[in-house]
């Protein structure tokens, strides 16, 4: 359901965002601007706040301090517009084990109020090669296949911003390759991508911008080529595993 937002420059922005979970501070004063065509790799050790940052951007988590803005407007004051513009995928697949692949996508489509549902469904299933098992219950599918359904769910409403948390987990070589191609192509369509991955080389091959996080703070935000990679990786090695990934 495309909303009447100014089509010119859709921009998603975190302004001084902090997020507190009880006594645990997951994000501290994070500022980030996501412009059209951006392709951002989120990088950092476990517990750096990558998932929390994506959850805050996705509107699932409300920041304890600071604001999330879509085209300068607080996303929590007009959640419907923001949610239609955002597609989010994370460790939890958001799928119902007792429904088939098609039913799961159809349900998500209804929630997003999509028109021309049949076409959208078949496009999404085409993109992620889900046709042959469309009528299988999600519970009976392998982890990698579920991951693809979950990706299809995130892409289903053709969102402007794609937030993907470890999208390559569990995918086989073929699916990995086609997902890489898909993600590389997003920029030319004017869409914005933010993703995290544990495989830095793979991320580097897709993203043009790097945002490195540590302890809930942004350490580096800039072009991939200019990133002080050695320093960032050394920082990671000296760190133990954190509480929240």
């Amino acid at each position: 359901m495309p909303f009447d937002t100014p089509r010119a420059k859709p921009e998603l922005e975190l302004r001084d965002v902090s997020k507190q979970f009880g006594d645990l501070q997951a994000l501290r004063g994070v500022c980030l601007r996501v412009a059209p065509g951006d392709s951002i790799l989120l990088y950092g050790p476990n517990g750096a706040g990558k998932t929390t940052l994506l959850r805050v951007l996705s509107t699932l988590a409300r920041p304890s301090e600071g604001k999330v803005l879509l085209n300068g407007e607080d996303v929590h004051s007009n959640p419907a517009a923001a949610k239609s513009a955002i597609g989010f995928m994370t460790h939890t697949t958001f799928l119902y084990g007792e429904l088939t692949v098609r039913e799961n996508l159809e349900f998500a489509g209804k929630l997003f109020g999509l028109r021309a549902m049949a076409e959208r469904l078949s496009n999404a299933m085409e993109t992620f090669h889900l046709h042959e098992r469309a009528e299988t219950m999600v519970r009976e599918l392998s982890r990698g296949y579920q991951q693809r359904v979950s990706l299809a769910r995130a892409f289903l409403h053709d969102p402007q911003f794609l937030l993907l948390d470890e999208p390559f987990t569990g995918l086989d070589a073929g699916s990995t390759e086609s997902l890489q191609t898909l993600l590389r192509g997003l920029g030319s369509q004017g869409k914005s991508l933010i993703f995290s991955t544990h495989d830095f080389e793979q991320g580097k091959a897709i993203a043009r911008r790097l945002v490195a996080l540590e302890g809930g703070r942004v350490l580096y935000d800039g072009p991939m080529e200019a990133a002080p990679l050695a320093a960032l990786k050394a920082g990671e090695r000296s760190h133990g595993a954190g509480a929240r990934s």
């Binding site: 979970f21 006594d23 645990l24 501070q25 809930g216 760190h239």
Partner: protein, 233 residues
Amino acid sequence: MKKTFPQTVHLAVTLAALLVSLYFIFLYAPQESTMGEVQRIFYIHVSSGNMAFLAYFLTFFGSFVYLWKRNESADDFAYGSAEVGFIFCTCVLITGPLWAKPVWGIWWTWDERLTPTFFLWLLFVGYLMLRSYVIAPGRAALLAAVVSTLGVVDVVFDFWVIRMKSYRGQHPAAVMGGGENSGLDPRMWVAVFVTFVACLLLFSYLVRQYMRVAALRRQVARLRQLRDSSSGA
């Protein structure tokens, strides 16, 4: 608050009021003609009962402010009121039977005052259990606020239902609705009032301490995290 009414003064006033209320209960108030000495438990019983209902309402009030303003100390106030209110409510349920047994000959009866008090006690139990069993610590305050809001509306229905059930009341109708017909000696009224004020002071002191401890605990957690993150970098 901190400057105008330091907590040491608060504590001293509370203790003094409690002592004074003991004087009023045991020396000033006259002995009740039919029930005898045991009736003196009435002053503590009634005050605790009123405090328990007041505390539940204050829990709701704190929750409401929290939902509206997202102010952490509003939530501390709600939680503190519930904990202290639970103790007052337990106190009613203990002093009640202690008084009832010698006077009515039974420990308990499901009448129109005991029953809603017991329901209130159950609501406190649910609220407090929820607070300690929520998995994600950041969510406890919100969920508890929702529970106390539903609970406070339910208390209204409890009274409605109990009235419709029209239990034959054993319970003396004094204090809340009784007024002049209740036949209380004026000196007893004074003792009731003094005890209630003492309970109010005790309640406010305990909740204040609770809020202070909660704020300190948060501060410690923040400082500890700051230390951990700066020593790592």
